[in-house]
Amino acid sequence: MVVATRDRPVRLRWLLNSLEEQSAPARRFQVVVVHDGESAPTQQLLRSHPLSRSGQLECLTASPGRTHPGAMRNLGWHAASAPLILFTDDDCRPAIDWLERALTAAALNPGSVIQGATLPDPDEAVVAETAPWVRTLHVAPPTPWAETCNIAYPRAWLERVGGFDDDMRVGEDTDLWLRVRRAGGRLVPAPDMLCYHAVEEHSLLETVRTAGRWRDLALLARRHPEVRRHLWGRMWWKPEHAAFLSALLGAALAGRSRTAAAALALPWVLGLDRRGYGAHPRALARSLAEAPGRALIDAAELVGLARGSIRYRTLLL
């Protein structure tokens, strides 16, 4: 199992705890954690965790400047000796039989890439239901994005295509899978190979500040135009972005025609209840109160994607 991590010691601890508790015998797996070497609590955890003391955990430090997730995962799988490499993220927590299920699926489908299911952690349901700005992941395999939060690659495939792109900040997992697919690889869904993804609460400022990192998605679309089949209208990363631009256009036209402005803004306004608060007056008030924040996030994501579109000369918004 290969995990790339950056300054998330508590989440990493929970991941390592869940790996230690796997139902599969300990001799059947090895854990490689690659970190950027900048977090003292992470280093302390990696030194002291029971997996480390039992010799099952290998820790590697990425060299400065090579700390994008793809580069770190490459370092990890190169250091591992197993024929099957499982990837998960440091904000995930595999179910107790995760490894067993992965090994079974790999044995039934030799040479295939195995993609497991990822659900928001049910133990963090309170955060998911009540916090306004959260990040989590729901993956029902097979997906065209082949997310690395829960996927197993035969080592042979990684060697054949050269592993992840070292320099991509996002989308490196999809890029890897599409190169494997182009070379004849097959992806097999394993919905019972289950991983739980953290439900992380962020402040609005943090959410807006990190929204720009999605700009490298344009690089993915440029390299692999086939991903556009899975985009809304072949160019929108999220339908909300199209609705937001339409609303902006509506705001610009408000002086000329109120009807046109309202019609253009309507899709975005109707989509404001993105967290599913419901139709109760209090829920509607909450959705409305969060509308300026949603607008800021949509705008920040759009600016990031527009910058990426210009940089990589392909339109993805």
């Binding site: 010691p9 508590v10 601890r13 929970w14 705890n17 955060v127």
Partner: protein, 165 residues
């Protein structure tokens, strides 16, 4: 109201805090047991937003600590842990956090704020004490934090002496 002794801040009706206050009083210690009040105007809203019941006590707890300016602060819940963290960071005076729960990952994530407040207390150097080895083990397992196992008022009294020396 400044008294400089030990301030015990606990949710209303906390038996450990009450027993501890009695023991300290018997031992001649200057100790005060206070329960911060909830703010009804925001308590319901915070609870609906998934925060710990009594989360609105934080405001009155912070005010009490400022007014009392204790030599040593002892808190008994995750809500007051945040206040202890601030107090310890600002003044450098010793603070103790006792949790009446088994702090597993599930417990830490069952309410918003718990994890962050406890981590903040630990980072600020607040001493964490648990009532049983199982609870101390859970804290070590879930957060990697060392905790003292203290289950009697007398042992707390001895801990205070060590922290103040």
């Amino acid at each position: 109201m400044r008294h400089g002794g030990v301030l015990l801040l606990s949710p209303p009706g906390d038996r450990l805090a009450r027993g501890l206050a009695q023991t300290l009083a018997t031992a001649g210690e200057t100790a005060r047991l206070l329960s911060p009040t909830v703010l009804p105007l925001i308590e319901g809203r915070l609870e609906r937003r998934g925060y710990e019941p009594g989360a609105s006590r934080r405001l009155s707890a912070a005010a009490l600590v400022r007014v009392c300016a204790p030599e040593l602060l002892h808190v008994f819940s995750a809500v007051e842990a945040a206040v202890a963290a601030q107090w310890r960071s600002r003044t450098g005076r010793p603070a103790v956090l006792s949790l009446d729960a088994i702090p597993t990952r599930q417990w830490l994530m069952a309410r918003r704020g718990r994890l962050g407040w406890i981590l903040a207390a630990s980072s600020a150097g607040v001493t964490v004490a648990m009532g049983s080895p199982a609870a101390a083990h859970a804290l070590q397992r879930s957060l990697g934090l060392p905790a003292r196992v203290i289950d009697t008022a007398e042992a707390y009294h001895a801990l205070y002496a060590r922290l103040r020396s």
